[in-house]
């Protein structure tokens, strides 16, 4: 790194700049004291900011009506993932109409960049990025989420239903 020193005459006039800055700070201080409701900052973590429902936070694996995973283990999400953090192991399903399903689906949340590409790639609406985003963990916590967590964590209240159901698809003759 090279440090360039500005020795010109102009650089000696720093005081007006500092005073302007202090002025702005003072203005906001007075404004906030007089009108607390308009304050732009939050008392985090007591107060929490509510994001819109389309916020891309932690992943959810959707389920079908019978409660089983919608995911077909096509691995398009894993292929599309720029962080290469999705690991899927596919297996043969006993029902020939389902044929293929994941016996293991893991996302390494510490590598995930929350780009949402997995959601875009999924042909069957099996993975979504949900509104949850505050998921701290203490030292030694596991940030590799498995099927159990992704599809059935308590906050999902029994699982999120997918839009694309096989039954309907078969009924309409596709």
């Amino acid at each position: 790194m090279s440090i360039v020193q500005n020795n010109s005459e102009k650089s000696k006039w720093y005081l007006p700049g500092i005073l302007t800055g202090m002025g702005i700070t003072m203005k906001h201080l007075v404004q906030n004291l007089l009108n607390k409701k308009q304050m732009t900052t939050l008392n985090y973590p007591e107060e929490k900011y509510e994001y819109g429902p389309r916020f891309k936070g932690n992943h959810i694996l959707t389920v079908k009506q019978d409660g089983s995973l919608r995911c077909t283990a096509c691995m398009l999400c894993a292929t599309n993932c720029p962080a290469e953090c999705i690991k899927i192991t596919a297996s043969e399903h006993s029902d020939p109409a389902v044929e293929k399903f994941p016996i293991n689906y893991e996302i390494d949340m510490l590598r995930c960049v929350f780009c949402g590409f997995c959601e875009e790639a999924c042909p069957v609406d099996a993975i979504r990025l949900g509104p949850e985003w505050q998921t701290p963990g203490i030292s030694g916590a596991n940030f590799t989420y498995d099927i159990n967590h992704l599809a059935h964590r308590p906050s999902l209240k029994g699982g999120i239903l997918t839009h694309v159901d096989d039954q309907e698809r078969h009924k309409s003759g596709i």
Binding site: M1, T72, T79, A90, S91, E92, G173, I174
Partner: protein
């Protein structure tokens, strides 16, 4: 020898050749499903249409013979539109299965759709439902909905394997591939049907759902399943090998390979491999790197001198045999080199298509090297010497395909009578690790991990290149031979040929030597 012009290129073909064959010869792209160069012509998919000058309508290329002066083209927009509509008919009843279909990524329908299709389906009718996940036999699974009825698989069982298991049943849009009641698709070449199926209708039970094909790299090599030496492609990624497919070579295997050969990848993967060198002596068991074990064994071998005995199985390359045999003959002055032949009786068996009784890829190569060095020994000499306990040091280049060595357990017991046993093998072997006495195990590289030559049953020399590395610390037999003879590796790092062509090099081009200097000698600026 008629001459014709295809897309403006002139070509001479042999009499009776079809337009399709001419196009193959020219390597002109043409959409097709049912034509396969190794099978008879069926002309059922109608995708291979071409324009022939002077004919009002397109004709199929696979069933039209070339005549003198014929002018053929398949590039007009009208023709592409025609192909698109043929494709539409193929897809009428085709399910939306690509996410679960194992063929996705190497599927004929996907390829042609991307090339010619890209339309929205216009069928208002419901799709005809057929059988899914039909268990055809021990190796193959059928999905009738995905089948486009090209009949390649049927023709294969009729013409190549001559087992006639498959047929087309029912009529019209309810036609399905199947086997007659109670019969199974069960022959020694059944998995070829999976290769030639242009769609995901036939899938291999072994490979099904294990990997997506786009996660795999491929590399051509020679099968080491038997002395036929089929040309194959192995598919692998960093987890190991996943499947083997045949590569066309009319001299050796045509378009096919046997099912047994497809299993050869299983003894290459790290689960069954010897990963570390291992020395067990009276003072206990020690795990070491392969090179360290070889060096330790080398001092022991030196003391044995001309009493050192070498046993070779037919599963290594010619170059490796040459290297280790010449080390024994020249350095140790020992000509006690024996050929471990596991299938003396079936040596010349042949099933008429590909499979041979000699389950070693390079028996011919081994015999040739032994002959060159004037070595003729008999196995019974070795047996009696071992029985008498007079063998001081025995080096065994053990087979990687242990499954075909039925005499392996009994031979291990016999070899263990040697005072020192040096076991060079790719495989971990419990019986060997349980042996008492001095045993040096050195991990070897498998045929996928080295370049070399196999000489097949007919004396054809086939060179192959390294595909990937699975056990990085393993040695090739030549490297092991060098170390056993007390020499260092011959690493020719300075002789790596310059990839930049000499005359094209810029005068101020920074070469490797200078770059190294720059990186290690000078500091890259300071704060």
């Amino acid at each position: 020898m008629p001459k014709c012009t295809i897309n403006g290129k002139e070509i001479e073909v042999k009499a009776g050749a079809t337009i399709m064959e001419a196009m193959y010869q020219l390597k002109e792209p043409i959409a097709h499903y049912c034509y396969h160069p190794g099978l008879s012509v069926a002309g059922v998919c109608r995708l291979c249409i071409v324009d022939i000058e002077g004919q009002p309508r397109p004709q199929i290329a696979c069933n039209t013979q070339v005549t003198e002066g014929m002018k053929v083209s398949n590039t007009s927009e009208k023709l592409k539109d025609g192909i698109k509509w043929v494709l539409d008919f193929h897809l009428i009843n085709h399910p939306l299965d690509c996410p679960i279909c194992d063929q996705a990524g190497e599927c004929g329908l996907q390829d042609q759709y991307m090339q010619y299709g890209k339309y929205d389906p216009e069928m208002a009718e419901k799709k005809v439902k057929k059988h899914k996940v039909v268990d055809l036999g021990p190796t193959v699974v059928l999905d009738s909905e995905r089948c486009i009825l090209c009949s390649r698989c049927v023709r294969f069982t009729e013409e190549v394997s001559k087992t006639n298991e498959l047929g087309i049943f029912n009529r019209g849009d309810r036609s399905e591939i199947g086997t007659a009641d109670g019969k199974l698709l069960d022959n020694k070449y059944s998995l070829n049907t999976v290769d030639i199926c242009p769609v995901g209708a036939l899938t291999s039970k072994d490979f099904r759902f294990r990997q997506r094909v786009w996660y795999l790299k491929d590399s051509e090599t020679v099968c080491n399943g038997c002395s036929t030496g089929c040309n194959v492609k192995v598919y692998f990624n960093k987890e190991g090998l996943f499947r083997v497919k045949p590569v066309q070579n009319d001299q050796v295997n045509g378009h096919w390979m046997c099912d047994e050969g497809r299993n050869t990848y299983k003894f290459v993967n790290s689960e069954v491999r010897l990963l570390k060198g291992r020395v067990s002596t009276s003072s206990g068991v020690e795990e070491k790197t392969a090179g360290a074990v070889a060096k330790q064994a080398s001092s022991m071998l030196k003391s044995a001198g001309s009493d050192a005995v070498l046993v070779l199985s037919g599963q290594f390359t010619v170059e490796e045999y040459e290297s280790i045999v010449s080390k024994f003959v020249n350095d140790f002055k020992s000509k006690k080199i024996y050929h471990w032949n596991n299938n003396k009786n079936q040596m010349n068996d042949f099933d008429g298509l590909l499979i041979r009784g000699d389950k070693n890829p390079n028996t011919k190569g081994l015999l040739k090297v032994l002959e060159k060095h004037g070595i003729s020994t008999s196995w019974s000499d070795l047996e009696s010497a071992l029985k008498a306990g007079s063998v001081k040091a025995l080096v065994v280049a053990a087979p990687e395909n242990e499954e075909v060595y039925a005499d392996l357990p009994q031979n291990i017991q016999m070899f263990s009578k040697a005072q020192n046993l040096i076991w060079l093998s790719t495989r971990k072997n419990q019986a060997l690790s349980d042996l008492k006495g001095n045993v040096y195990q050195i991990p070897m590289k498998s045929y996928i991990e080295k370049s070399g030559t196999f000489i097949n049953h007919a004396g054809l020399e086939q060179k192959f290149k390294r595909a990937t590395t699975i056990v990085s610390e393993a040695l090739t037999l030549s490297e092991a031979a060098d170390l056993l003879a007390g020499q260092e590796f011959k690493m020719s790092s300075t002789q790596i040929p310059n990839v930049l062509v000499e005359e094209k090099r810029r005068p101020d081009q920074v070469m490797l030597e200078h770059r190294k200097k720059n990186e290690f000698v000078f500091r890259r600026g300071t704060l």
